[in-house]
């Protein structure tokens, strides 16, 4: 996947301002940044849910600019997105959730679908939940089932939207390991949009930092850890003040207190 000078705005509000990045085959890349930095918008552009105003966006060798709906759907069969809270279909069992794509996009007999679903659930350690409904799962389990559903047709590009949000340390570690293991097993390219710095530094091959719609830093986890860049330092070590100020812009404090 390749992005060059990608620009996007909602009306007058510029969200992405000339973003360029690459996700090579087989690599796990993290996109990090504060809230409102454009990470989710970037993910939606890559998934074809939004169209960039300018720039080049190539996914699985296909330029997404001006792509038709049918062609986009063909392309989407080769990519997958894990939503922040799983987005499991609540009216279907765990088994039917994982079988959903196989039933929709293939003519496989039910006996083979059954075996494939059990294999996918086994990969995420939740074969025993096949008969359960999504409401019976914990947050971490729901995300693992969603992961099994996402890899149902062995995608070439995997995207993860904030996969660690709201998880306890054990579930977080499990999801992290699964992301790495599945990426390596599928030979897919993966993009993880996340705030979780320490987990990502352990997990990914390369990191891009986004701020105000631009890539402000990038590098391998080692390079990021050693970075002297003040912005990267503040983000990685979670400092409250720095290039991203603690105080929202306002009139000077003394003036506000002592003025009329």
């Amino acid at each position: 996947m390749r992005l060059r000078d990608l620009c996007f705005s909602y009306g007058d509000r510029e969200v992405l301002r000339g973003v360029s990045l690459d996700v090579p085959r087989g690599k796990l890349v993290a996109i990090m940044g504060g809230s409102g930095s454009g990470k989710t918008t970037l993910m939606r552009l890559i998934g074809g849910q939004l169209q960039a105003q300018s720039g080049e966006l190539t996914v699985c060798g296909r330029n997404l600019h001006g792509i038709g709906r049918e062609e986009l759907y063909t392309l989407r069969r080769r990519m997958s997105l894990l939503f922040q809270f799983g987005a499991l279909f609540t009216d279907m069992s765990v088994f039917d959730n994982v079988a959903f794509l196989m039933r929709e996009h293939t003519d496989l007999p039910e006996s083979i679908i059954r075996d494939l679903v059990l294999m996918k659930l086994q990969a995420v350690g939740l074969r025993g939940t096949a008969a359960m409904m999504p409401k019976q799962l914990s947050g971490g389990m729901a995300r693992r089932v969603a992961l099994a559903r996402a890899i149902a047709l062995d995608p070439q590009l995997m995207m993860y939207d904030e996969p660690f949000t709201g998880l306890d340390p054990i579930s977080l570690g499990v999801i992290g390991q699964l992301i790495r293991r599945l990426n390596d097993a599928l030979g897919a390219s993966s993009i993880v949009v996340t705030h979780d710095v320490q987990e990502s530094l352990e997990l990914v091959d390369y990191i891009y930092f986004l701020s105000e719609g631009k890539v402000v830093a990038q590098g391998t986890p080692e390079e990021i850890r050693a970075s002297k860049d003040p912005w990267v330092h503040q983000f990685v070590w979670g400092e409250s003040d720095g290039p991203v100020p603690f105080h929202y812009p306002a009139v000077p404090y003394e003036e506000a207190l002592l003025g009329d």
């Binding site: 759907y73 939503f83 279909f89 996009h105």
Partner: protein
């Protein structure tokens, strides 16, 4: 100051009208797309069958009980009026005609809008709020074809069946009150009904009405759900809108259809 107030009022009305027309156009486009994408769900009819169960079968209790009570009330009121003219033998015809022509389709439609229409809107709205529709779209499965169309057709098919059952139970209710409780002659009750209810003019027109109401309620319900703001408050507002708009649409359409079908 006063001029500004008047301008603001007319501006508000104008904006409201423009918004309403824009939304109606959007709903019409949505219906067009829904019909265009209905092929796959009609080929996989098990998807529609499932929705007929949720919209139709699960609405049966309220429809049957309401039909029975409406028929019983018609029996009492009809007898009270007809007996004044010595025409109580026409009670069966009066009950049946009131039900198959008007009360069956209209009341079943209103109950269907409250019970099934609101449930369809809430379900689709919540699926949108929890990103299930987005997830489906990202999986290259069109949510309009897979989620919306089966619910729409499930509603369209269920509604005439529910209206027919409403009318049937209403006739039974009228019989219980008129014949069993009051003591009208049962032979007159059934023979007057048989002689005065015309299959094409009364029953077919009643079925057409209920099919049109089913289409209107299902259209409103799926559109409001799909267009709902993806928040708890947005879904709640959409559900309320479904009941209000569907009910008004049923009453408005009933007037138009009645004037076309029964103007003499």
């Amino acid at each position: 100051m006063m001029l500004e107030g008047i301008t603001a009022v007319f501006g508000g009305i104008g904006r409201g009208v423009v918004d309403a027309v824009w939304r109606l156009g959007f709903a019409a486009r949505f219906l067009g797309m829904l019909l265009w994408l209905s092929g796959s769900c009609l080929r996989r009819f098990n998807l529609v069958m499932r929705e007929i169960y949720f919209s139709g079968v699960l609405s049966l209790i309220i429809i049957l009980v309401s039909g029975l009570f409406v028929g019983m009330v018609l029996g009492i009121q009809g007898y009270e009026i007809l007996v004044r003219y010595g025409s109580e033998s026409a009670l069966g015809a009066m009950v049946a005609l009131s039900l198959v022509r008007e009360l069956g389709p209209v009341l079943a439609g209103l109950l269907f809008a409250s019970r099934a229409g609101s449930a369809i809107t809430a379900e689709i709205g919540l699926m949108k709020a929890t990103e299930q529709l987005d997830a489906m779209d990202m999986m290259a499965v069109d949510p309009i074809a897979r989620v919306v169309a089966p619910r729409f057709w499930g509603g369209v098919i269920s509604m005439p069946l529910l209206a027919a059952m409403f009318s049937a139970l209403g006739v039974l209710g009228g019989y219980i009150v008129g014949v069993v409780m009051i003591g009208t002659d049962p032979g007159s009750f059934w023979s007057q009904m048989q002689a005065n209810v015309d299959f094409r003019q009364d029953i077919v027109n009643g079925v057409i009405k209920s099919a049109v109401f089913g289409l209107a309620v299902s259209w409103v319900a799926v559109f409001e759900g799909y267009d709902a703001e993806p928040t708890a408050e947005g879904v709640s507002r959409a559900t309320t809108r479904t009941v209000v708009i569907s009910s008004l649409a049923i009453l408005g359409l009933d007037f138009i259809l009645t004037s076309l079908m029964f103007r003499g």
